[in-house]
């Protein structure tokens, strides 16, 4: 309670309440994430269950009864008779899962390596940062294509669909850890030379404790900012990869896969198959980006 009231009274909260952009963006993210997590509560169809689909429902216009089955769908249906609205919510689950997991993976990897590099310095630092440089120059899509190739080779053919998601997470995560590592390394080098760290060292705290208890908390605000922006990047990266065929399987589509399928119907008049998933992706990524922007400004003491 004490912590909560301190948070409510904080400078941070004050800035948040004063920023309509931040509030609207948070609201949008809240609604979309909530809708995705509790998708079964808000939908009558599970589009990932093939037995529940009726092909004859395919290409229903939004809010118009289907010419064969008479069923009506708020956002229409796609080429497989899937309810576009339900598919967006379920697809967003995949996109968010991939995004969050990739960012978590990148964050854990990047923060750990950044702390080690910054704290130990010397040869370890050189090696870690050399790897980071190489990683930075290799774009995410090439990394993903390579990892996808490896995964395909080491998994049995029947199980490839299940690993596809994990491949995406690892590929996107690997291409994002460098930003975390650089920031944490920089902050660690600054903190390391401060007196309180010297003091902690003198009273015999282990390097591990010092890194975790003293240095890490001081690097959290830039890490949070990078994590937010990386989340938006990861969700877009997943969509881009699905265009190259390295994405979620068509029977369990992510938002990106839905957009890839939908772009084929842009000229044919079935605009809703592209429009609604694209709008959902745009709303999600844009809100997360705006929040990241706002966080950067709010947490940057220099910009007060």
């Amino acid at each position: 309670m004490n912590a909560l009231s301190r948070f409510i009274a904080s400078d941070f909260t004050y800035k948040f309440v004063r920023s309509p952009v931040a509030m609207i963006a948070s609201l949008v993210v809240f609604i979309l994430v909530g809708g995705a997590i509790f998708a079964p509560l808000f939908t009558s169809q599970n589009p990932f269950d093939p037995a529940s689909l009726n092909l004859m429902n395919g290409f229903s216009h939004p809010m118009e009864p289907n010419q064969f089955t008479g069923e009506s769908f708020i956002f229409g249906t796609d080429d497989q008779g899937r309810d576009v609205y339900a598919t967006i919510l379920y697809g967003m689950r995949i996109s968010l899962f991939v995004g969050f997991s990739a960012v978590m993976f990148a964050m854990v990897l990047g923060v750990t390596l950044g702390l080690i590099a910054g704290y130990t310095g010397g040869r370890t630092d050189t090696i870690i940062m050399r790897i980071a440089d190489i990683q930075l120059t290799f774009p995410a899509i090439l990394v993903a294509l390579l990892i996808f190739g490896i995964a395909k080779g080491i998994t049995p053919p029947g199980r490839r669909d299940e690993v596809a998601i994990w491949v995406l997470i690892i590929a996107i995560g690997l291409s994002e850890w460098v930003n975390f590592a650089r920031v944490v390394r920089g902050a660690t080098m600054v903190e390391k030379s401060k007196e309180y760290v010297d003091a902690a060292r003198l009273i015999g705290r282990s390097p591990f404790t010092i890194m975790l208890r003293h240095i890490l908390p001081n690097t959290l605000s830039p890490v949070l900012v990078i994590a937010t922006i990386s989340l938006a990047l990861a969700i877009i990266a997943e969509a881009t990869l699905s265009f190259l065929g390295v994405g979620a399987p068509p029977t369990q589509p992510s938002l990106g896969t839905l957009i890839r399928i939908g772009q084929g119907f842009l000229f044919s008049g079935e605009w809703w198959i592209l429009f609604f998933p694209a709008t959902a992706l745009l709303a999600l990524a844009l809100s997360v980006n705006l929040l990241g922007d706002w966080l950067r400004d709010a947490l940057n003491p220099k910009l007060k």
Binding site: G122, D125, T126, M129, R130, D133, I134, L136, T137, F138, P139, I141, L142, L145, L146, G149, I150, K152, G153, A232, I236, A239, T240, F243, L244, G256, I259, R260, Q263, L266, F267, A278, L281, L282, A285, L286, N289, L290, D293, K302, L303
Partner: protein, 328 residues
């Protein structure tokens, strides 16, 4: 300096060799090239014969060594399975398209990025700044392929102003085919360059803006103002100049990303560059083309990295003291 350079170049070579080895170990998972090379009437004997001819019956380290041997001893990157032509010729033919596209995209990103960045920094809370900031975020909140398709739909199909595919008319100048000298060639560049450069434009704009904001707040600028220099002089001669070093660094590092993302832009716009070549090679399991593309891209990335490092080394005297640990 020399020792540092030699060490870095040799590190880069090791990276290249590893990339090549990884690439070759992956090729067999892309599919079976033989199946594509022979028609549906092929017999089992045909498959075996072609497999032997292509050396596919050997293990991947042996295939890799043979490829390297060809490259090192005679500069031969092999013959494309798909086109039956030397890979070196094909890449030389396709590279101008990608390089011109990357150049125009980078130019677009730098010019607009710096322009918008400076404007939004100076007019920090103006409504135009807010519109620019937000709409630039819209551009990076949609996947590239969708932006490309939407641009085609709007400017080619609905308005009919710009072509939807290809490079238009090109002119050959000493083995380099350029689209810069014809109207149709220039028009064909617009949509793909915007699609490809949008992300980098946003990145540069945001970088310029935040660097400008910090510099404008520094004592150095306060001093310049106090000296009575005009607003313009302060903004452009002093503040902008100080933001350019990080911008140049980031742009350099992004060059690799532009060329890699060209894979998607080229596919959408049927742009006859190396990115489209690579995608076709994956579909056809054209191993020599895939290998050469990945090696060239690695060479490019590693050289960019090397150049950036060497520049830092020359600029930052501290690095000389601690023996070249890259501390940027």
């Amino acid at each position: 300096m020399l020792a540092f350079t030699i060490r870095r170049v040799s590190q880069s070579l090791v990276v290249l060799l590893i990339v090549g080895l990884v690439a070759f170990s992956l090729f067999r998972f892309v599919g079976d090239p033989v199946e594509n090379l022979l028609g549906q009437e092929r017999t089992v004997a045909d498959i075996e014969r072609v497999r032997t001819q292509l050396g596919l019956d050997q293990s991947f380290p042996v295939q890799y060594l043979n490829f390297l041997k060809g490259v090192v001893t005679e500069g031969n990157f092999g013959v494309s399975y798909r086109q039956g032509r030397p890979v070196a010729d094909i890449i030389a033919e396709r590279a101008p398209a990608t390089l011109e596209l990357a150049f125009v995209s980078a130019l677009f990103a730098i010019v607009l990025g710096i322009g918008f960045g400076v404007y939004t920094a100076i007019n920090r809370d103006g409504w135009i700044s807010n519109v620019i900031m937000t709409s630039s975020l819209v551009g990076v909140s949609l996947p590239t392929f969708l932006i490309g398709i939407l641009l085609i739909y709007l400017f080619a199909v609905e308005l009919g102003w710009l072509p939807s595919f290809g490079r238009g008319e090109t002119v050959m100048i000493g083995g380099w085919s350029t689209g810069f000298l014809t109207t149709s060639g220039l028009k064909a560049l617009i949509l793909p360059a915007i699609t490809l450069g949008l992300y980098q434009m946003t990145l540069i704009m945001r970088l310029v803006r935040s660097e400008m904001l910090e510099v404008l707040r520094s004592d150095y600028i306060k001093f310049a103002r106090a000296r009575g220099l005009s607003q313009k002089a302060v903004h452009y001669r002093h503040a902008l100049k100080n933001t350019l070093v990080p911008v140049i660094t980031i742009t350099g590092l992004q060059l690799g990303a532009i060329i890699a993302f060209a894979i998607i832009t080229e596919t959408v716009f049927q742009w006859p560059g190396v990115g489209l070549l690579f995608i076709n090679a994956i579909q056809f399991v054209d191993i020599p083309v895939m290998a050469t593309y990945l090696m060239l891209i690695s060479v490019l990335f590693v050289s960019i990295n090397l150049i950036v490092d060497l520049l830092y080394y020359m600029i930052d005297p501290r690095l000389k003291a601690d023996g070249g640990a890259a501390g940027h």
